[in-house]
Amino acid sequence: MTTEPRSANGDLRSDDLREPSAADSANEFPVFQDERTRPITELPGYEVTERGPVIFGPEDGPLEGKAERRVDGPLYVGADEVMPELEPAPAEAGEARKAFDLNLDRRSLLKFFGAGAAAATATGCLRRPVEKIIPYVNQPVDQLPGVPTYYATTCGECSAGCGVVVRTREGRPTKIEGNPEHPISQGGVCSMGQATLQGLYHPERRKQPLAKVGNRQVDASWDDVKEALGSKLAGKKVAIFTGGSTGSRHQFYRDWLKAIGSTEERLYTFEPNALYSTIAAAHKLAYGVEAMPRPDIRQAKLVVGIGSDFLDVGTSPVFMAKSFTAMRTFKNGSMGKIVQFESMLTQTGGRADYRHVIRPGTELLSTMLLVKSLAAQTGAKGSASARAAITKVLEANATALNAGYETVGVPQNVFDSVAAELLAGPSIVMCGGTQSFDQNATQLQLAAIMANELCGAYGSTLFLDKGWMPAPVKVGDLKRFMTDVSAEGGLDAVIFIDTNPAFTVPKSFGLAAAVAKVPVVVSMQSFPNETDLLAGFVLNTHHYLESWGDEQPVVGFWSARQPAIRPTTDSRQAEDVLLWLAAHMKKPMPFSEYRDYLKDRWKAVHAAVDQSVEYNLFFDAVLRRGFVSKLKTQAAPSFADVSASFSLGAAVTGSGTMVLTSPLDHRLHDGRGANKPVLQEVGDAMTRIAWDTWIGINPKKVRDLGFKRNDVLLVESSAGSFRAALYPMPGLHADAVVVHRGNGHDDVTGKISGSNGVDPLVAFARAEDPLTGMPVTAGEVVKLSSTGAVFQLAAYQKHNDIDNRKDIVQKVTVAQAASEEGKTWNMDDVPDLYPALYKDVENRWGMSVDLTKCTGCGACMVACAQENNVSMVGREQILLGREMHWIRLDRYFAGDVDNPQVTVQPMMCQQCSHAPCEAVCPVYATQHDPEGINSMTYNRCIGTRYCANACPYKVRRFNWWTHKWNVIGDRLVDRNPRALNPDVTVRTRGVMEKCNFCFQRVREAKHRAKEMGTKVQDGAVKVACEQTCPTDAIVFGNLLDPASRVTALRKSVNSYMALNGIPGVHPYGIKTLPNVTYVKQISFAEPAGKKKTDAHHG
């Protein structure tokens, strides 16, 4: 499809409203040009103001024009059309109900268990349980077997509110993709979002509610719950404790609490990611707005991160990664620069041009030193009053700051030069991350506000006036809850909804003991977790893909959530359960189900956005597209004098004291991802360790302490201790002990997460940030000692250094790249004895991978595993190197071991034109197709494995075992085969497999193009890794199409083929001529020289 030139102001309306042409309908998927070549103003949903592009424009109407007009082609579908009624299946009276009725004594309880066992046996013999999947006896009109249906919805894995599209086949979700039009996700999905289906289909989801009888939780039915629970809640002091959300959910809880006679203050919200509440609290102090500013770093010339992990976890990782990509796109001789100050090595630090290692716990001090440097510069921005207020703060802390450089470990000139650069252009200071949740977490955000005021970020890269972000939690709720629940007679009942404070709040807070005193505890969870153990009633609720809901990630921007599948188990949506409980208490709310509440509440959105459309049509249109926006504006608040509330906090511990930091894991987050094998197996971005918990310590320090890699260490603090294996991690400050959270779950959470790794939070004494009450999870002084034991950590990469090899990873400086910008070369012009194998072909598929942009997040690995039914193999097999990932991330360190340069190289089948694997296969199981894809014929493979030996990129994977769906290594688990993609063969033992450029997607696009009589357009095939990549590092397309993005990238002198030599130095290399090219890693810093890192073996 040729994209019409758009008007200079980026007005999308005219384009959207024109009549659909034949060319449009040729592609049922939206076709996009290269995000990197296309002006930012043309990206979907972007509008231009005088200042530059802003994601959320002023005239945010219904984004697709009149709601009657359907989006061309079956883009995304509203759930109502396919599943008219989502009535829960009638449940039989459960065992617990009988238990209540019988008023059991011990003897009859035993009888009842016996009867239950007999009944279970009898039914087990009769037939398999009915699976509530759309029956095709009466085929739904919209559903064609073999043709996927797409639903737009909103991801519920964290509070960021990314828009996703769920691909369903025959009623089953089979893949999560980013919604390309959604301004938060912009088509990207993180690894947690990609792994959603393993949560939906998880075989260990509860099949029915549990109720506590005596000390035992027994199976119950929903009727039991209604009766037993309803009567217990009526007229009591009921509280709800839940996770973060920006949508209607929290308001619903408040309304419900009011309706049943409790008060709305008894809603407590908690997210272990303290960034939300600390940023909101700091902005409340500085600006009087308890919200988060919307960062827009796309135009930033410099981003300074201080302890920040905005690319790892942050507040909205996909949104930030997409913005990062725009900023880091090299054009017109330059790109945005990143300077990072941190004590551990994050993905953000790995992407930074310059990285400064600071002492752990000095993020606040470092920020204030930067503020000091900024204030000292002549060009400091910000209003006079703000500058005065900041000067006041600086003066009050002058002594501490002057001594600060030594404490931090970074000299003053660094801060001065960074400050000068910050003032030069659009810039931003991003402070704090999950590594810096200490007592000063809110003070740090306050310092960040000061820095951003001085460098003029507010209004240019940070927005509080338009499109600011609501905090998904209320500040101080955990503290309030602890006070209320501990008070005598404080709360009569607590309902935990999709949150796991029993695990995510450090044990030293005594939350479990406090909750144990509450007479009625209800745990409503879509997956078993530790909080269930505290509860008298455990209610199995819907997964988010089975639920209705919404999020409002930006004020005035609503993202809708709709079910993509009928409930797979006998679960209920938590809100529906609350509604019926209210009805049962004779205090009904005027809604029969949560969808009605939602529709009612959305009337306000309708009124705000577009009243010309009939409401139901509007609602359907929003579901179809997944979101709608009408941004609110407010006057930019002015900076208040914060000198009274600011303090530099507690003194930093002295040099040489080891302090423990426990950041959130980018895959497992606070532990919510731990039950998904694919997340366990994707491996940590920087260490590449899968499955376990490791202790990260600086390699030199490890040597000094006399430990070795894989030694099991005992980490002791005043609060507790844990044991885990040691990983010498380059780039850490010598005093830092970094142990990621996420693992160490109770066995009740399932066979994947149970007994896997340790929970470092046990070592944290009860301490909280005084301003927000958030638990401190950084800066605990610990003692390390060896236990003498050794535990092999399953790290994918055994060798972390590039070993001076020149044509694998290539790096250039910005200056070099600028001198060569626009130059082209023909890398396929290689002398060759053989004639081309195929002539007159339309397509030659190729891929380009940008090493400047890849952060190593692992979303591509998860997406690939989900799309291509890749088996998970477990820790033991990874130790042998037998992982099955079709795409892997090779992470190389270069330079100083204390502060290495990091390169992450995604490595998938290079689809060599001269494939070494093809010639050696005795049975033609692997061969070239005319379009350049090296394809595997699994049925033909006899497993000689010669191809894998011959492959110089080592991307071929062999099925050493039948990777059963119920075994991962030594863990017996039951993975649900319903999550398999029906388009891709499941491989058996003894055959080779590897990346095939998502051949099924290529074929699908070709079919569609053929039906329409056109060629496959650029962007019509999005392979799974490319689709999900939050940084757009991967581009796929047709190399024979001169206009395709991938052709342009292949021509650039900045691109190279791995292992194919360096022109002029070492020409042609091994001459495999891959169809995958890499874009050199561009950095402002000189590439580290020949010096090897000390830690090249870990």
Binding site: K798, I802, I808, R882, A919, P922, N949, W960, V991, T1072
Partner: protein, 460 residues
């Protein structure tokens, strides 16, 4: 020494055996194995069968559960499986060399050892052929999909693949060796037939195809034997060349070199001769064949070992030189690591066993010192196994991309299957020793002094 009266080295040091027995005495002495071997034979046989059973058990287990049982650690997709394959093919080389090439060169010393050397070849090739079969992911299909069999899907094999060449090379070699061996056996089997009764006579009669020893039969036999020898001769060079192409045809550094075919052939002959020696010494003892397999014969075998050891030594050196001289960084990195990297132990074991220890053979007294030479030959066999292991593992484990480097060490099951293959070999070999003439009767008779053959006294 049972045979001290039969064959002695003459006092003047001439190597000419002095025959004092008749042709029937030769039969008696050689076929002693059919009656009463030394008790050590039975001990050896029981051990061999036990080893074989272990291997069979493992093959059954891995067929049921999958190749994951082995300790394969990618990127080393081949390991002890192919090591054993190349090792056994190498062992199989000396047999044909001794029987065919030396036959054509009329080297008389071969006549006393060729029978057992050929038998060794047959059994070694059987052992070798098992490994490519069981190392396949789907051996139940691979066993016949690797053959050019017509099928309804018109699927054909890939003639570009060295593995296909391997299938042809090994099967041809096995067939020709088997024919050659069996053809040589026919007159001897007839001799046995004539000396047995009842059921045995029936069996040996069947196996000897009605050999009567007529002049016409001898005429055809000689022609056919010579023809087969000529046919087998190029195979000696081709088989291990093709096996070496299994490696050399890929672009893997450490494998992709043109020196591989001659280097592999020399290595194969080295290991084959060492194995022949290793086998002959105990066999000579168990079956009291000292008067037929003379020290001179053993020494000739050792001389060949010394020659090939020197060639191998040269190949090792030139490999390093070429890797350095090529300027290919990945190639040189492999060789650097072989010498001082994680697999240096295997490399230096290989160098010492194959190149350094055999230097002792320059001394005639050591050549003729059977215990010392026997130990060195066993070490050469160890060294040759390590050579294959070294070539395969050190090239695969750390090749192009440092990010995918790995480390492999053999696990328990690899040991078991290796022991199992030795069990198979020795079981077969010991059965052969018990039921077949270990030394070729007819050829010994051929080189006997004329009077005993019925002619004038004549030193051949």
């Amino acid at each position: 020494m049972a045979g001290d009266a039969a064959g002695v080295v003459s006092v003047d040091g001439s190597r000419e055996p002095v025959w004092e027995r008749s042709i029937s005495d030769v039969n008696e002495q050689i076929l002693v194995n059919l009656r009463s071997p030394h008790p050590s034979f039975y001990v050896a046989f029981v051990i061999a069968v036990l080893c074989l059973l272990t291997g069979v058990g493992f093959v059954a287990a891995h067929t049921i559960y999958g190749l994951g049982l082995w300790n394969f650690a990618p990127p080393s997709m081949w390991a002890v499986d192919i090591t054993n394959f190349v090792f056994w093919v190498g062992i199989g080389h000396a047999g044909t060399l001794i029987s065919a090439i030396l036959f054509l060169f009329r080297a008389k010393w071969r006549n006393s050892v060729n029978r057992s050397a050929e038998a060794m070849t047959i059994f070694a090739v059987i052992c070798a052929a098992i490994f490519p079969l069981i190392h396949m992911g789907r051996m139940w299909l691979g066993a016949y999909w690797a053959l050019p069999l017509p099928n309804t899907n018109n699927m054909w094999i890939n003639f570009r693949s060295p593995l296909v060449w391997d299938v042809f090379a090994i099967s041809t070699y096995f067939t020709v060796s088997l024919l050659f061996w069996y053809m040589g056996l026919v007159p001897d089997l007839a001799s046995i037939r004539d000396r047995t009764k009842g059921f045995k006579r029936l069996v040996y009669g069947f196996m000897s195809f009605g050999w009567r020893g007529t002049a016409k039969q001898w005429h055809h036999y000689e022609a056919g034997y010579g023809f087969l020898a000529a046919l087998a001769t190029p195979l000696v060079l081709s088989v291990h060349s093709i096996v070496s192409w299994d490696f050399a045809m890929s672009i893997q550094p450490g494998w992709h070199t043109t020196i591989f075919p001659p280097y592999f052939v020399a290595g194969a002959i080295l290991s084959g001769c060492a194995m022949v020696y290793t086998l002959l010494v105990p066999v000579r003892y168990m079956f009291r064949l000292e008067q037929f397999i003379l020290k001179e014969h053993l020494e000739a075998c050792i001389k060949l070992t010394l020659l090939t050891s020197t060639i191998v030594f040269y190949a090792y050196a030139i490999e390093f030189f070429v890797a350095w001289y090529s300027g290919a960084p990945y190639e040189w990195a492999i060789f650097e690591k072989r010498a001082i990297g994680p697999y240096a132990f295997y490399f230096w074991t290989m160098v010492f066993c194959n190149c350094i220890f055999p230097l002792a053979f320059w001394s005639k007294s050591i050549r003729n010192n059977i215990p010392v030479t026997f130990v060195i030959c066993v070490l050469i066999n160890v060294g040759m196994w390590f050579e294959r292991y070294n070539i395969i593992i050190s090239s695969l484990a750390e090749d192009f991309l440092p990010g995918s480097w790995g480390h492999y060490e053999p696990g328990l099951w690899e040991m078991v299957i290796t022991v199992g293959s030795f069990g198979l070999f020795f079981t077969f070999f010991l059965i052969f020793c018990k039921f077949f003439p270990i030394v070729s009767l007819s050829e010994i008779k051929l080189i006997m002094p004329k009077p005993l053959r019925g002619g004038g006294k004549h030193h051949h």
